[in-house]
């Protein structure tokens, strides 16, 4: 099998690369040269990386598949992201969506609880003295160490995975929120006191916007950690999800599938990070400066 697919795909790779560059070069023209300057280096480095990878794994004794082999092996998965053969045998799109769904639940809970606790700890010295030591200890617990105890508590794999996401994402959110609130300049508090804003008005009009840059830093770290944790957690709990897909592929020795899954995981993680970053710039509208 290896011998038959490799030669014709080797031909394929060089053909693909230049055409991509040409196409991008054409479509990027309207955006000006600077855009090409930014994109081109990444494309060139990517191409070199692929060539080195291809070269290093092209020998018959290589333990890992070459990029060309990954593509040919996983072609079915790539072109059919949303097939459904029942059970865990579903397309990559579904696997990713299942993982994203867990992350969405766990992360949303972490955002709500994290910001609330962060506000509490940031506002009240007493709460800080009481809770901060606990937070400092708990936040160093590795995400997966929570899995057994949450399995014991929930007796079910799905809520356990969601809980692991929750507990992983919440610490940076709490800590950054509370730091942001503690760092609200005394001036802003004085402004609100002179205006006689009530508690709710102060919260909405001063506290949240003033702490927003910090809060979003926490949210961004949190989403990254969630995505790191979900893959590991799913490997252990099974079911549909990109983590278990990787584990399953490993058990079936389908290394190409794993490589494809890693690319998916990386791209989705990147998009999640950018998504939160995008919302952050939208909400804070550059107010972090000053």
């Amino acid at each position: 099998m290896t011998a038959s697919t490799q030669p014709n795909l080797r031909k394929l790779t060089p053909v693909v690369q230049p055409s991509v560059i040409v196409k991008i070069g054409k479509t990027m023209k309207p955006w000006g040269d600077s855009f090409i300057k930014n994109v081109l280096p990444a494309l060139i480095v990517g191409a070199i990386f692929l060539l080195i990878w291809e070269w290093m794994t092209s020998s018959a004794s290589a333990t890992l598949p070459a990029p060309s082999k990954v593509i040919s092996d996983t072609w079915e998965l790539i072109v059919n992201p949303f097939y459904n053969h029942g059970g865990t045998d579903v397309g990559m799109g579904w696997q990713i969506l299942a993982s994203l769904e867990r992350v969405a639940y766990g992360y949303t809970l972490a955002v709500i609880a994290g910001i609330s606790l962060g506000v509490l700890v940031g506002q009240s010295t007493w709460a800080m003295r009481g809770l901060d030591p606990i937070f400092q200890i708990l936040r160093t617990v590795p995400p997966l160490a929570w899995l057994p105890i949450s399995l014991a508590a929930f007796q079910d794999s799905n809520p356990s995975a969601i809980f692991v996401i929750f507990i992983t994402a919440i610490w940076p959110i709490i800590i950054n929120t509370s730091v942001g609130i503690r760092n609200i300049p005394e001036d802003y508090r004085n402004v609100s006191r002179v205006l006689s804003l009530n508690g709710y008005e102060y919260f909405v009009k001063i506290m949240l916007p003033a702490a927003a840059p910090y809060i979003f830093t926490g949210l961004r770290i949190g989403i990254g950690l969630s995505w790191l944790a979900i893959v590991a957690a799913e490997m252990l709990i099974g079911g549909v999800g990109i983590g278990f897909f990787i584990w399953d592929a490993w058990n079936a020795s389908m290394i190409s599938d794993i490589v494809l899954a890693l690319i998916y995981v990386g791209v989705v993680g990147f998009l999640l990070d950018r998504f939160i970053g995008f919302i952050s710039t939208l909400v804070t509208r550059g107010t972090s400066a000053q």
Partner: protein, 285 residues
Amino acid sequence: MSKHYLAIEGVNKTFGTGNKATCVLKDVNLNIEKGEYISIIGHSGCGKSTVLNIVAGLLSASKGGVILDGKEVNSPGPDRSVVFQNHSLLPWLTVYENVALAVNKTFKKTKTAKQRHDWILRSLEMVHMSHALDKRPAEISGGMKQRVGIARALAMEPKVLLLDEPFGALDALTRAHLQDEVMKIQAEINSTIIMITHDVDEAVLLSDRIVMMTNGPEATIGEILTIDLPKPRNRIELADDPKYNRYRREVLRFLYEKQRKIEPLSSAKKSDSINAQSNSKAVNA
């Protein structure tokens, strides 16, 4: 009770407790009439901001108290609006929204939405900031920010306007410009103003009375100088006015002869700034 519009009565302020306690203010008494423009001047760290913050209600006096219009002051409120030294605009709000926050809160019940909108625009017009309604503080200059801060404070129609070194961070030209604007506005709406300043010329130019504070700790009011110059005042004409120069000299004498700073380092700095003072109006310790 006091017959004066604003009375600061026997105010003492001690920061800290036990053997760390420092008595910053001791027995400060001052009576202010409606429509008066008062400047407080004194060396850095003597307790000027502390006095202002006690009047604002942001700090509470350890002893004594402040009575405004027959009522004791014990918390901050919109009837005593403050222009903070560093403008303190909220950076996430536009110029318009910064003023709107104050106006909408203060006149929630007494004005309709339309009236409030007009009032915000008028206040900003008064300080010539109508051209930048949708700019954020980061996008306007320091002088403009200070003007918006003044508009925000004025828009609340306070009984007393408290200015803590409002022009301290500005260059001499902008400062002169804003001083003129404040003079005009005060002539227009006859507001009661307490202003902290380090600038002798500014104090003489703007005030009805200059309150000179002794050095801390245990600072109190040393002298009060009544400035009997007709209003409106013009800085260029006043420059040759013997009365004006006598007032200036009196304040300088108080600050640099009677209340000389004792610490060697800061007194060296101070005497530098006296020399500079005679030539330039832009002295700020």
